[in-house]
């Protein structure tokens, strides 16, 4: 297969154009959704039935408690119902899910990771897919969005401890933002060839004598929110490489668009909510520059066709779908790892070594370009606070961000935030690499074996969900360790972000002076870009050198 540069450029141009057209209306809409004081009739009914006091706003600690309790209960319910699958309707005659797999899967979908340690076709029936996993695709994406909304409120509000009501925000993110877009997108996907039924079909080709059972299921409805909510958990094992999830190069491009849609509109919502569009555009420009650079690097690395097996095959092919082609797969691979999606339309394990390395580096950047729904923007805003602190050190002033002092408390939170995921990835992958009984689960040899393990922990702790699929992670050790990485990689940063929001909301606004470092414009944008790349890339460089860099540079 030949990498088509013309196709690559065309697809990038289409994406940039469409997202440029849509980021403003969608950003404005989202800002209105979270600023409105009116509840729809159906929402009022929901609040009454669920016992939500929609008129009361919460402090950061109560907001966090709501996030944690809701997530914990979701995990327990999903775990229990997977175990009981055999006696529930819609099991497709499958037995109860193995306890380690069920635990890992429950955590995975609630944390917006969608790491799949199981093959869906052989493990989960329609009920688990549709009523448990796809529901979390909405709710976990909504949780990410409401956390960044709470952070922005903390930046805007003064001398208060109130950040909003988690339940109201969650309902609005789910039902006013995700549900309408997902419905339209799902119908478009059906028209594009994605299956949406509840039965399989037996087919027999009398000429060739071939008989098959063609699977069915509510695939399009799950597919739409899988990408829109930057989730990534496929209805089928092959994810977006499966012809029923991703029938053509058009649906592939449409899925990348859906992956980027909300994350690229959130900076506009942020600018609107803080009353200064320049802030939003600076963040969006940094995200855009990283996305473009990384996608171009991915294209370069893929088109190199490096690898002895790839050379023996006469070029790219292993793990690629013929109907999608290497250009579409490069864009997909970059976008899925730069957000917290983790859907794949090509086998990442078989990509040329440096392309696999770029996929890992994208996740290691903290998935901020443009990142997962909500989580990308809150990650970038924490990095912006670190950037303003560094700028403050240079000019010798107490740093300020949008009129709020960045004091020791705020800096401690920001510093802890950026330490969480590298610590999880490097410590857990490091310990696991020392255990021979764990490493047998990664069947590759040489540096590629370490890459498979490093990819797994990078993907888990960053809540991505894509994999170097050669690794088998369904055993007790890796299920537990990856479950731990996903849990801590999701909820420690959320706790820190909400704590930061609470601490900012308490402050008075101080007027900007001549010594204030502006947090918009090219100068600050470049600083933010530099901080993002240097902080993350340097933490991971030694680990990358042992895996993809060793494999890619030595041969």
């Amino acid at each position: 297969m030949v990498f088509s540069t013309a196709s690559f450029i065309t697809q990038i141009a289409v994406l940039v154009l469409v997202l440029a057209l849509l980021h403003k209306p969608l950003g404005l809409y989202m800002a209105r959704v979270f600023s409105s004081t009116k509840h729809a009739k159906a929402e009022r009914a929901l609040y009454r039935l669920a016992g939500v006091d929609s008129g009361t706003e919460q402090s950061w600690s109560v907001y966090l408690r709501s996030v944690l309790l809701f997530s914990l209960i979701s995990i327990l319910v999903i775990f229990a119902l997977q175990r009981l699958q055999a006696i529930l309707p819609g099991s497709n005659s499958l037995p109860g899910v193995d306890p380690w797999v069920a635990m890992n899967t429950a955590i995975s979908f609630v944390t917006n990771t969608n790491w799949q340690t199981y093959a869906p076709e052989a493990t989960v029936g329609i009920f688990v897919q549709m009523c448990l996993l796809a529901v979390q695709n909405f709710l976990s994406a909504a949780v990410g969005i409401v956390v960044v909304v709470a952070l922005i409120r903390g930046m805007v509000r003064t001398t208060t401890d109130r950040l909003g009501n988690f339940w109201v925000d969650l309902a609005r993110a789910s039902f006013r933002i995700l549900l309408p877009i997902a419905t339209v997108a799902a119908i478009a996907l059906v028209i594009g060839g994605v299956v949406q039924n509840f039965w399989s079909t037996e087919v027999t080709n009398t000429a060739t004598g071939a008989s098959q059972v063609i699977p069915g299921g509510p695939v399009a409805s799950q597919e739409a929110i899988k990408v829109l909510g930057t989730n990534g958990g496929g209805y089928f094992n092959a994810n977006s490489a499966h012809p029923f999830e991703n029938p053509s190069v058009f649906t592939s491009l449409f899925q990348v668009f859906l992956i980027l849609l909300i994350p690229s509109a959130l900076p506009y919502m942020y600018g609107r909510m803080v009353g200064d569009q320049r802030q939003g555009y600076t963040v969006a420009a940094v995200m855009g520059a990283l996305w473009l650079t990384s996608t171009a690097l991915m294209a370069w690395a893929v088109s190199s066709g490096q690898g002895s097996a790839t050379a023996a095959a006469g070029g790219l092919g292993e793990g690629f779908e013929q109907r999608l082609g290497p250009a579409a797969s490069s864009i997909f691979a970059a976008s899925t790892t730069l957000t917290s999606t983790g859907a794949v339309n090509v086998a990442h394990d078989s990509l040329p070594p440096l392309a696999g390395g770029i996929a890992m580096l994208n996740m290691m950047l903290g998935e901020v370009a443009p990142g997962g729904t909500g989580s990308g923007l809150y990650g970038m805003l924490v990095l912006a606070i670190i950037a303003v602190f560094i700028a403050g050190l240079m000019v010798g002033r107490t740093p300020e961000f949008l009129g709020k002092k960045i004091g020791p408390r705020e800096m401690k939170i920001a510093a802890l935030y950026i330490l969480v995921t590298p610590t999880l990835v490097l410590v857990l992958a490091g310990i696991s690499a020392l255990l021979p009984e764990v490493m047998v689960n990664a069947p590759a040899s040489g540096p590629h074996q370490f890459s498979e393990l490093l990819y797994a922990f990078t993907s888990g702790a960053n809540n991505n969900g894509s994999a170097f699929g050669g690794i088998t992670s369904s055993g007790p050790y890796l299920s537990t360790m990856l479950g731990l990485a996903m849990l801590l990689g999701r909820f420690l940063p959320i706790a820190l972000v909400l704590g930061l929001a609470g601490s900012l909301a308490r402050q008075r606004k101080i007027p900007a002076s001549s010594g204030t470092v502006p947090t918009h414009g090219p100068l600050f944008g470049s600083l933010l870009l530099g901080v993002t790349v240097i902080l993350t890339a340097l933490s991971y460089f030694p680990a990358l050198a042992l895996g993809p860099l060793a494999e890619g540079l030595i041969k």
């Binding site: 408690r65 549900l179 059906v190 060839g193 080709n205 094992n237 490489a241 002895s308 097996a309």
Partner: protein, 204 residues
């Protein structure tokens, strides 16, 4: 005491919220998409099932259908698919997940190349990459136009057809226009083999 009752109240809210959200997002939403799909695009929504000339549901236009024996050897009468990590069985789907320098993969593609060259009567250099590598899903029904073209003599001979007629069917089944520009010219083997069967039946 106050803290505990606060937790319990919120846990109750969480359970009820999850249940209500599941009714909307886990039942009403997929059912609405199902309904809309059955109205707007029933063919696609039900798996793009294509029928043969007798009206029998023969295949899905999107899923690889191999004419192969239990050992996975593809029938020389028909156009061959790319290798598959799941034996083209749509009950499952997977890539090989072998690395780009993997010794086993290197051996497999080398063996595949020799086998394809032998069965098509071409030199190993003429075998395109897609013919020796397995796809990401194992169910990709498409092959490159090059791979289809080197199979023409074998398939034409097996069915007593003129090679140029078979080549014409390939041209008809090859993706073109903007789709081919964005991806690459590809031939759907599932549909092509159905067309071959039709053509052979009409000639005999």
């Amino acid at each position: 005491m106050n803290i505990i009752s606060g937790y319990l109240r919120q846990a109750g809210t969480a359970i009820r919220f999850l249940l209500l959200a599941t009714i909307v997002l886990g039942l009403l939403y997929p059912l609405a998409v199902f309904g809309a799909g059955q109205l707007a695009a029933p063919f696609q929504a039900n798996g793009s099932i294509v029928k043969d000339s007798s009206g029998q549901a023969a295949a899905s236009a999107l899923i690889a259908q191999a004419a192969a024996d239990d050992a996975g050897t593809q029938d020389p009468q028909w156009f061959h698919l790319r290798p598959s990590a799941v034996g083209w069985d749509p009950a499952t789907s997977s890539a090989s997940n072998l690395g780009p320098n993997d010794a086993k993969l290197l051996e497999t593609v080398t063996t595949n190349r020799a086998a394809v060259a032998a069965s098509e009567g071409v030199s190993p250099e003429e075998v395109p990459a897609d013919a020796v590598t397995s796809s990401g899903s194992g169910l990709d029904p498409h092959i490159s136009k090059d791979y289809a073209t080197i199979q023409v003599p074998r398939v034409a001979r097996a069915h007593g057809l003129e090679p140029q007629d078979v080549q014409e069917l390939i041209n008809k089944q090859t993706t073109s226009g903007f789709e081919a520009f964005l991806s690459q010219p590809s031939v759907n083997v599932t549909l092509l083999n159905l067309e071959i069967a039709n053509l052979a039946a009409s000639r005999n």
